[in-house]
Amino acid sequence: MAQLNFVQNYNFHPTDTVGVTNGTLLFFAQNIEDSISLATINLLNRITISSLANISFTYSLGLYSMTGNTLSLANSVSLSYNSNNLIGNETINIYVSGTATSATQNITPGTWYWGIVGTSSGSVLASADYSFLGGLSANPQNAFPSFFIGGRMTDSTNNLPSSYATSDLDTTGKDAMFVPYILLSG
């Protein structure tokens, strides 16, 4: 198999958004076509600020494999964004990136799953809205009826579980099935 330098799940910037809720872990699938070294990871976010002077948020991003109906954590990385010079009433679109993976890994081709949970802080939490930029503009009202491709935990957590049963995940609605833009650079 060839070695890739880059993997992204959208060729260009998507425009759908879903709000990031502290303590909610979202899983989404990605088919990785060839091997790639897990070196730099970028997520695309939109932040709308009403009246904050400084904000800070951190994502814990986990790479999971799946056997049967169980997701198993293979790697993880922390991505963070801090700013203390934002003015009120503005919207910014930013890449949030990270390189400090928990393990050196050359991702093999196949279907992998990302799990992501975020925590935010700042002088006035309620005055900033954080969103992932990605895809899914619809809001289906039934559980996803086929092979698992994503979902979200119903229990609140700030940590990535080492393993998780997909049967325990919520797969109803946009918030559960959203696919954020992610870019891997090897």
Partner: protein, 184 residues
């Protein structure tokens, strides 16, 4: 890897609009080509307004990347003086015989026009809601951007440090790319 008969750099066709690119500005973006593809032709949708002849050249470059160096692997161009026309242009004048291997490649695009009135329009992956600027650039290596100098031709090699990662929403927008279709 299987062989494929075509590749286009974005989909779906309906999520697009016409946009003009700045004269002699080299924009480049990352693609992943999933199978082996014989590079026999390049199709570009073009729209030229007005009722007078307008001289222009559309140039396409295919770059590979190794480390921090982009290397020109192939190119294709079309020169004309169309006016008042919208059409698919099938460019078969490809600079080298090439069987494109699967993997990461970079599509580069330059348009050179004789005047600013009228202007050539290309179909791009962009509508009003997608026209947003990026305020914090991508971390890590270059994936999309604009060459630091104006040019009407493709350098044989480009250091990624000479490519700007700027993804603004101005008229010369490197994150907007024309629809480009390679076919066998």
């Amino acid at each position: 890897m299987a062989r494929i008969n075509y590749f286009y750099n974005w989909f779906p066709f309906q999520d697009c609009q016409l946009r003009q690119f700045s004269n002699n500005e080299l924009n480049m973006h990352l693609v992943y080509i999933p199978g082996s593809l014989s590079f026999n032709s390049l199709v570009v949708p073009i729209s030229v307004g007005a009722t007078i002849n307008h001289t222009y050249t559309i140039s396409f470059g295919l770059y590979s990347i190794s480390g921090s160096t982009l290397s020109l692997a192939n190119s294709a161009s079309y020169a004309s003086n169309d006016f008042n026309n919208s059409f698919w242009k099938n460019i078969t004048d490809i600079s080298a015989t090439q069987d494109i291997t699967p993997g990461n490649w970079f599509f580069a695009y330059i348009i050179t026009e004789s005047s600013n009135n009228p202007r050539v329009n290309n179909i791009i992956f962009q509508n009003a809601t997608r026209d947003y600027s990026i305020d914090v650039n991508v971390g890590g290596p270059f994936v999309r951007g604009r060459y630091s100098v104006t040019t009407n031709g493709f350098p044989a090699s480009i250091a990624t440090s000479d490519m700007s990662k700027i993804e603004d929403s101005s008229a010369t927008n490197p994150k907007a790319a024309p629809l480009l279709i390679i076919s066998a």
